[in-house]
């Protein structure tokens, strides 16, 4: 997987009816190194989802470019959307099977379902799942494609704390087994510090980068809540503007 260079000069939503046009992103330059884990932190409605959609090639209506450092085919993308976007007419398992290669062993899906505690629900249709369970299915689906680039739009919202912790650990373990680029949107600074190589703080609309901060805590020490809290306090003291973004 090559590095990704994001250069968005302008992304504007046109005026519709009485609503005026709205510039969501302006002059945003961001480079994603291959295998890097990046957390995007910014206020609600600042355009983070718009940015992920542009990167995922779902939105072409912008000025700028998304380029790969090497001439290669489109990276395999796993996207965990803000709402789970499961096909209601396919069971939990079928939703996952549909996105993976036919050659993929069913044991891999079995294992993922097991890790996400979804084995008993695998033959259930999404309409019968709670929002938290649907989110877990959406996360499993994104993991199952073994992506080169994983886009996560506030993936752990509405998961209970123990499940969120478990899924976070699973995410890190999968990422360490096979490093792929992760772009993770969150409002939770502790979560961002626990996961990221690099934190990117974004301004309110029109969105641009306020600061980029590398997390100095070693991976082996990320489970230490005191270390994370200390770094969080240090960040808030050094960059008071961050408080406005959370």
């Amino acid at each position: 997987m090559s590095d990704i260079q994001i250069n968005i000069i302008n992304k504007t939503y046109p005026a519709i009816g009485q609503a005026t046009s709205h510039t969501a992103i302006a002059n945003l330059n961001l480079s994603l190194k291959s295998g890097e884990f990046i957390c995007l932190v910014g206020p609600s409605g600042c355009g983070k989802t718009t940015l992920l959609n542009i990167i995922a090639d779902l939105d072409h209506d912008y000025q700028g470019s998304i380029s790969l450092s090497e001439q290669s085919s489109r990276p395999k993308i796993g996207y965990i959307f803000q709402n789970p976007r499961l096909l209601p007419w396919r069971t939990v398992r079928e939703n996952i099977e549909l996105v993976v290669e036919k050659t993929l062993s069913s044991t891999i899906i079995d294992n993922l379902l097991e890790l996400m505690q979804l084995t008993p629900s695998q033959h259930i249709y999404p309409e019968r799942l709670s929002l938290g369970m649907s989110r877990r299915v959406s996360i499993t689906r994104a993991f199952a494609v073994d992506p080169d680039l994983l886009l996560m739009d506030e993936p752990f919202v509405s998961l209970d704390a123990p499940t969120a912790r478990q899924v976070r650990a699973l995410l890190l373990s999968l990422w360490q087994q096979r490093p792929h680029t992760v772009l993770f949107v969150t409002h939770d600074l502790r979560e961002a510090i626990a996961l990221a190589d690099r934190l990117i703080f974004l301004s309110a609309s029109p969105m641009s980068i306020i600061s980029e901060i590398r997390v100095p805590i070693l991976r082996s020490e990320r489970h230490d809540e005191v270390a994370i809290e200390t770094f969080r306090q240090q960040l808030l003291n050094e960059y008071p503007a961050i408080k406005q973004l959370l």
Partner: protein, 248 residues
């Protein structure tokens, strides 16, 4: 509850037959035969092979024209529903074809192509096609963009998206087009047969009309309505149940 409903349906049917029998006895004229007289004619027509032959000819025309109209209409409907410019271009065509009387299309097809089978089928297809297109177009317009984006993001091919993402969303619209299509098409086919074919239900009904044979007209009508009900119960309802099994 289900038993009560079935009992009510049976009672309603019996009440209808009783009303028919009472009216026929009261009028006492060959223009309204009794249910028993119609049943006898029905049985004789079945035994002689006349009814199955003509019913078969009509059903074959129905099957061919319905299949062509549904396949073509669905494809065009999806394209128009997803491409605003094409839709804007062809919208007037649709309005024109929706409003051309069925009889005009049938006459023109027979005049232009002759009294041949393909002209008959073409006339039926032309009459049904616009309503299929309009129904499916509405479905295609209301497709869930979030699910389409999900499919695109996970690299679904066009075929995979069509089968697994688009088609299930269009199902209610396809069923609506199917049901209204069956009801409309068989009526058009009767006119097509009446005007230019030498077999089929329409041809026979025309013959019976000339002889004032109301019992045969009713016997053939009951047979046809029965077949359409059979299609609804044996094909359409199970299809509905299977396609919508995921709903709560």
């Amino acid at each position: 509850m289900k038993l009560t409903q079935q009992l009510l349906a049976l009672l309603s049917l019996l009440a209808f037959l009783a009303l028919w029998q009472g009216s026929a006895l009261y009028i006492n004229n060959h223009t309204l035969p009794t249910p028993a007289a119609v049943a006898l004619v029905f049985w004789q027509a079945c035994v002689s092979g006349q009814l199955p032959f003509h019913l078969g000819a009509t059903l074959l025309r129905l099957l061919v024209s319905f299949s062509i109209a549904m396949l073509l209409g669905s494809a065009i409907g999806i394209v128009l529903g997803r491409h605003k410019k094409l839709d804007a271009f062809f919208d007037n065509w649709l309005v024109i074809f929706l409003n051309v009387p069925a009889l005009v299309t049938i006459i023109l097809c027979y005049v232009w192509f002759g009294l041949i089978e393909s002209a008959a089928i073409l006339a039926v297809v032309i009459n049904k096609l616009p309503s299929v297109i309009v129904t499916i177009r509405e479905g295609a317009r209301s497709l869930d963009q979030d699910l389409l984006d999900m499919a695109r993001c996970f690299g679904f091919s066009r075929r995979k998206s069509l089968i697994h993402v688009i088609w299930p969303q269009l199902h209610p619209f396809v069923m609506a087009a199917t049901r209204s299509g069956l009801a409309l098409i068989w009526k058009i086919i009767l006119v097509v047969e009446l005007l230019g074919r030498s077999n089929g239900m329409g041809y026979q009904l025309h013959l019976f009309f000339q002889m004032f044979d109301v019992a045969s007209i009713l016997a053939y009508t009951i047979a046809f309505v029965g077949v359409i009900q059979f299609i609804e119960l044996i094909i359409l309802k199970p299809l509905d149940r299977k396609a919508l099994r995921w709903r709560r």
